[in-house]
Symmetry: C2
Subunit: 327 residues, 2 copies
């Protein structure tokens, strides 16, 4: 027998046994209730990965883009990143006695968050999240995430990740999808926890970003965060950022709000088989229920109508998810 | 025999045969002459991939960033992308009779390239490479690359790739490095050929980029190229872009000019084992010889001095490369 043949038989043996083992291990989405949504996801993955299917998609084109806030973890009543920004104001306040009377800092210190405008929030970001090296920022975010807890669930924020969505990422990855997080949230903030929490490496995390400035002082090269926007990864900005980073159109896109509409529409224009999903926050008991009136994750009637017309799948957290959190 | 054992024996068989085959196929860089440079590269790859080495680097941190123009392919006497831009002016001229007298177009049509300024070149890019969908741009670039030939070598531009550098990419990839192209050149232009020519997928190509605008017309989602700069991936912009896209510091960086200095310095600040290389164009017979006086790929004395001081490896195309092109 030739060496080549031996390799061939060895490989065949492994493939046969692996496929046998794979069939034995049953449900890829155990935290999902049976129903149209779960069935459609499994059918889609089957169709796009089965070489004999007319909907087969080559592995290099199996791009999945998933929103973060409200899709992967809790975003209500405030985005975690905003809570972090306010915590930075509190932490830095002793060095800035003038903040006691100076807006927008005084409002944050008095916990009057509702009065803050967009430009005021940008001022807070500029004052608390720039002028430091990218490594220092990462360390600050990680230190905060390791300590801070959500007031309702009494859990660390990284515990407020949806188990069904972690299963989804895992399931897609096992089927040779390349999974990206595509979020309006800050790229640097997400990258501080997504490796550990989602097992996704930094280049798979796309988010809004400020510029950095390269500096070389005392023989040390460093990147310093500066308060200038480079990319707003929301609404129109999502397909634009996906094209910029990945250069390919996704075949699966998952979001939960108005900010994800364009990402789903763009995915729908993919000539390859494609799937669009929206997470609907309709479970006030186990998580939250909010639609149009919320300050975060707005899900207007027009989006629900587009979902219906375009056959996007709407995931009901209440009905489709057997379990939401790991705790 | 248990199923598990069968898998184990199958795998062992394959590993043994593969390693036997690997040892038989000896030189990973056959187009490189023996010498310090080649030896240092092989030693570096060995040290960073050998688990028993004190310089071992985990696969997820084996990031390699490589410049394109002048490092991967010929950039002299004009960047290929600039030649393409001029060709677009010629192609569109019949639709723009006013260009015969209107600058900077008249200069291009008269082949008076030397008089063009940076802002004038931007005007040319705006007039010829925006207002179209990203797919249309890609098609135009690919059509041109399939036809246009270099006047000295009489080869398609994608044939002007350096074989030793293709071997380098392949060698790094085989050792589980993730290879990125990081270039001052246009990201969209590079992505039109790098999949086929370098076997690198679009997300591994980082370059200067214009913004796109998401539009949704007649039920079709599209991204239109617009004449606004998003990112200049040159000099300081290189480490900034690497951080933005990859979120990790490279352990190997290869460039050929002043525009790569900061990328190499930043790589040098990596606490992991690292290697910095510069391609030196010193072979007027087989390619070109140029240093400080050139309009492209400037390699000033100060860069050569920094290379010496910092022990960056300087690749002499004349001495270190046995073969330059595949033709």
């Amino acid at each position: 027998m030739h060496k080549k043949d031996l390799v061939y038989y060895g490989l065949t043996l492994i493939l046969l046994l692996t496929s046998f083992t794979a069939k034995a291990s049953s449900d890829p989405l155990p935290s999902w209730n049976e129903g149209t949504v779960k069935q459609s996801i499994i059918q889609f993955v089957h169709n796009t990965t089965d070489k004999n299917s007319t909907h087969y998609v080559a592995p290099e084109n199996r791009i999945a883009t998933i929103d973060n806030d409200g899709t992967m973890w809790v975003e209500y009543p405030m985005y975690t990143q905003v809570i972090f920004a306010f915590a930075r104001v509190v932490a830095l306040a002793p060095q800035h006695p003038e903040w006691k009377t100076q807006q927008p800092f005084a409002a944050v210190l008095a916990k009057q968050y509702d009065t803050l405008t967009g430009p005021e929030f940008e001022k807070i970001l500029a004052a608390t999240q720039s002028g430091m090296s990218v490594e220092n920022f990462k360390a600050l975010a990680q230190q905060w995430l390791a300590i801070a807890k959500d007031p309702r669930f009494h859990q660390h924020y990284t515990q407020l990740v949806y188990v069904p969505m972690l299963e989804m990422i895992n399931y897609l990855r096992q089927n040779n999808f390349k999974v990206y997080i595509v979020s309006g949230g800050g790229q640097d903030f997400m990258r501080a926890f997504t490796q550990k929490t989602f097992q996704l490496s930094p280049e798979q995390i796309i988010g809004s970003a400020a510029k950095t400035r390269y500096s070389y002082q005392d023989g040390r090269a460093d990147l310093i965060k500066i308060p200038q926007l480079l990319l707003v990864d929301d609404k129109d900005g999502k397909p634009e950022a996906i094209y910029f980073f990945i250069g390919k159109k996704p075949i699966i896109a998952i979001g939960n709000s108005e900010g994800d509409r364009q990402m789903l529409e763009w995915t729908q224009s993919n000539p390859e088989e494609h799937l669009m999903l929206l997470v609907h926050h309709d479970d006030a008991v186990r998580e939250y229920a909010y639609d149009t009136k919320s300050k975060v994750g707005t899900f207007p009637t027009s989006l629900m109508n587009e979902a219906k017309e375009q056959h996007w799948l709407v995931i009901s957290m209440k009905k489709d998810w057997k379990k939401i959190f790991s705790f």
